[in-house]
């Protein structure tokens, strides 16, 4: 049961975005993808989710290329949280989370199983009190939880989230990451997130992939991957790692050179 990036290369026009990336992901862990803007984090995640087809290589789920799976089957295995999530209509939170059941729905609408999965997702995200509210009138933190709950409702093995912490305050960011960890460690899901905050990546990820200009700089445990040497090379900044209160603290000192 694994998801793999097998020699994935992808260009937009003549601009190469990913240059032959190979990595294997396993379930039960939170895996963070970090790297500078334009390094190819989102593109790699979209390839893994089957939303982009690589020019060469493939994302492989349990031995089969993800891009070759029928949409419905793929959606039952992999949930994807977009970076700039769109919520077009003012539906209530329960109906919104129910959209996550789309790939499971039978001909006659939601079954008891579907309804149970929706309620379980609401509970997992702690949204019981908000279930009947219109989703467009929630605060940023509540909405982020509703979006995660939408992804949970699909009961997929894999949860791929593209910068899920964008726009969240520190408290809500911690909540979201703690939820990702519970999903991976307690429920055995494979969680892959792209992150910008290196400290949160260091603290919450079990494994970190550092992307640099479409190549994989390193793929290792956070303490090995997020070293000042690697980070200053990849990001072009001076970095120092301190011993913080609860773990290492990555401090950006300034531009390198």
């Amino acid at each position: 049961m694994s998801l793999q990036a097998q020699d994935i290369a992808l260009s937009f026009g003549d601009q190469p975005i990913l240059r032959r990336i190979t990595a294997a992901f396993d379930k039960g862990r939170v895996i963070a993808i970090v790297g500078p803007n334009g390094a190819g984090k989102s593109t790699l995640l979209a390839c893994l989710a089957g939303l982009l087809k690589p020019d060469a290589g493939a994302a492989i789920l349990d031995g089969r290329p993800v891009a070759a799976l029928p949409g419905r089957l793929r959606a039952r295995r992999i949930a994807f949280l977009a970076q700039t999530p769109e919520i077009a209509w003012d539906v209530d939170v329960r109906a919104f989370i129910g959209l996550g059941r789309t790939p499971h729905l039978g001909a006659f609408g939601p079954s008891d199983g579907d309804r149970a999965a929706i309620e379980a997702a609401i509970a997992a995200a702690g949204l019981e009190a908000f279930a009947d509210r219109p989703v467009t009138r929630m605060s940023g933190g509540e909405r982020a939880r509703a979006l995660i709950a939408r992804a949970l409702a699909g009961e997929t093995d894999w949860l791929l989230a593209d910068e899920p912490l964008t726009g969240l305050d520190p408290g809500h960011a911690l909540d979201a990451l703690a939820l990702f960890r519970r999903l991976a460690h307690d429920r055995g899901k494979g969680v892959i997130v792209t992150l910008h905050d290196l400290n949160l990546a260091a603290r919450f990820a079990d494994r970190v992939l550092v992307l640099n200009d479409g190549t994989l700089a390193i793929d290792a445990a956070p303490e090995v991957a997020l070293t000042p040497k690697i980070l200053s090379e990849v990001y072009g900044v001076l970095i120092r790692r301190h011993a913080g209160e609860i773990g290492p603290l990555i401090e950006v000192l300034g531009r390198a050179g």
Binding site: L51, P70, G71, I87, W89, V91, L99
Partner: protein, 328 residues
């Protein structure tokens, strides 16, 4: 916020409303036909009820339903509450097909040439739409392509009017362009019904894909929705339903725009919940407007499309203002 009601209950209410309107539609007009006139074949008014008003009423339901349902589906697909069949350029391309037959004088030769040309026009409009917007295009290019088609067809219609050989053909074209249900017979019902029913059924299957599009295009795809298939079914459904409507009644605007709007406060915004009720709502709206048009004391009957525009214009304006206020 009011909790949305079940689509079944709302559909039931709309159905009852529609039946009341059907009854009124069979009675109302220049000549009042009470129930007694319906049952006796000897009564000369029997012919009015069953020869004139029944086809007209049936056509109002079919055409209004097609427009309402197409509007709801298009709004769901584009996630834009201001979209309607005209946005795809389908009404305009169907009208162009019809106008060309009028211009060439071919319409007089057989009764089916004009409807056929309108349907071909709608079909070509959709083909152009798909070609222009490409296979993997976004909703924005889809809408823009529709806008281009609409503009081109509008100009071509204006050109046909400009170059018309004589005032009578201008008159004929203008008269036809202003959509109306007057003087339609069983013949027109036969022409419109298959397309409206087939296109309508196609659109009704799209509910789940439209719901998933609430999450945007990427979101819908991540839920396993095949967007190119959705777009194709959507385009074909709208072309067939609206094309065969325009073919027999001319262009009637605003029904597709207004109907989903009137229903959203009752049903909520979930696109799938709006589809079937929008068919019934569009039918009721069109039928009610047609009854009013028949009742207006004027020397010549006011065209349904004119009455609709008189109703729809201010509605559109009010909607725009309230949307601006919400965004401000």
């Amino acid at each position: 916020m009011k909790s949305p009601r079940s689509p079944w209950i709302v559909s039931g209410i709309l159905l009852v409303l529609l039946l009341v309107l059907v009854f009124a539609s069979l009675c109302a007009g220049r000549v009042w036909t009470p129930w007694s006139a319906w049952v006796s074949h000897e009564d000369p008014r029997w012919a009015i009820v069953f020869g004139l008003r029944l086809p007209r009423t049936t056509l109002a339901i079919l055409v209004g339903g097609a427009l309402g349902l197409s509007g709801a589906a298009l709004q769901g697909y584009t996630r834009n509450p201001l979209a309607d069949p005209a946005a795809l350029g389908v009404s305009a391309s169907a009208a162009l097909g019809a106008v060309l037959t009028l211009y060439l004088g071919a319409a007089g030769e057989a009764s089916w040439t004009l409807p056929l040309a309108a349907m071909i026009g709608a079909g070509l409009g959709v083909a152009a739409l798909l070609a222009l917007s490409g296979v993997t295009s976004s909703i924005v290019t889809f809408l823009l392509a529709g806008f281009v088609i609409q503009t081109v067809c509008g100009s071509a219609i204006a050109l046909a009017l400009n170059l018309a050989p004589n005032p009578w053909s201008v008159n004929e074209i203008v008269n036809w362009l202003m959509g109306s249900l007057a003087d339609r017979s069983v013949e027109e019902v036969r022409l419109a019904a298959p397309g409206v029913i087939a296109g309508g059924l196609l659109l009704l299957t799209l509910g789940r894909s439209l719901d998933a599009l609430t999450l945007g295009e990427q979101g819908a795809r991540s839920l396993g929705v095949d967007l190119s298939r959705t777009r194709l079914l959507m385009a074909v459904g709208v072309a067939v339903a609206v094309g065969s409507s325009v073919a027999v009644t001319g262009v009637i605007s605003f029904v597709g725009l207004i109907t989903p709007h009137l229903l959203r406060p009752l049903l909520g915004s979930r696109p799938s919940a709006l589809l079937a009720p929008s068919f019934l709502g569009g039918a009721a709206l069109t039928l009610a407007a047609d009854i009013l048009v028949r009742m207006t004391p004027a020397a010549s009957e006011v065209k349904l499309s004119v009455a609709m525009a008189a109703l729809g214009g201010p509605f559109f304006l009010a909607m725009l203002i309230s949307m601006r206020r919400r965004l401000a």
